[in-house]
C-alpha cells in the first residue's frame, strides 16, 4: 500500500513539475495555458488519489469519510479548472493578444 501511495505521489509530482516548467518554457500566453490547465489538474488528481489511499489505511468510518472528502476536492477541481482555463483564454482573446505561430518567432509579446 505504501509503495502504491509513494508511486502515485511521485507521478503527481512529476506532472506538477511538467506544469511548472511548461509555464516557464512555452513561448506565448496561449500555449502556456496548456500545461497550466491540464498538467496541474492531473497532478492534483494523482496526489489526491495518493492522499485518499493513504487515509483509507486504518479503515474506520471517519477515515472513509475523510478520503471521500479528498475525492470531492478532485470532483470540484475537475469541474472548475477547465472553466477557469477557458475564462483566462477568453480574456486573452478579448484583450487582442496575438497568438504565437510558427515562422514569426519572437514576435509573441
Amino acid at each position: 500500500m505504501n509503495i502504491l501511495v509513494t508511486v502515485l505521489l511521485a507521478c503527481g509530482l512529476i506532472i506538477f513539475t511538467g506544469g511548472a516548467v511548461g509555464i516557464l518554457r512555452f513561448p506565448d500566453f496561449y500555449s502556456r495555458l496548456h500545461p497550466a490547465g491540464k498538467l496541474d489538474t492531473m497532478g492534483l488528481f494523482m496526489s489526491m488519489l495518493a492522499a485518499a489511499l493513504y487515509t483509507l489505511e486504518d479503515l474506520s468510518l471517519n477515515a472513509v469519510l475523510t478520503s471521500i472528502k479528498i475525492l470531492l476536492i478532485l470532483v470540484f477541481v475537475f469541474i472548475t479548472s477547465p472553466t477557469a482555463t477557458h475564462a483566462i483564454m477568453d480574456a486573452g482573446v478579448r484583450a487582442d493578444l496575438a497568438p504565437w505561430t510558427k515562422g514569426e518567432r519572437g514576435s509573441a509579446q
Binding site: V5, G12, L13, R32, F76, A87, A95, L97
Partner: protein
Amino acid sequence: MDTVFFYSGIYLCLLMLLSLYRAVFGPTVLDRLIGVNAIGTKTTTLLVLIGLLYHRVDMFVDIALAYALLNFIAVLAASRYFQKRKGLYDERPRG
C-alpha cells in the same frame, strides 16, 4: 511515510517558486493570472500534504475543499475585467 510527504511538500514549495517567477515577472497580466492559478492548485495539494504530516487530515481537508471551490472566483472576476475593459499593455509607467 512521513518522510515521503515531507520531501514532496518541500518539492511542491520549490515548484511554487517556479510558478511565482511567472507570476512576478510575467510579461502580461494574464501570464500573472496563469501563474497564480497554478499556485492555487499546488496550495490545495500542499494543504492536504500538511494534514497528512500532522496526522490530522480531517482538519485540513476542509481548507483544501474551500480552496477547490473558491479558487476560480478570482480568476473569473479578473477575466471578466478583460471582457469589459479592452487593452492589455497598461503596465508601462508613464514617464
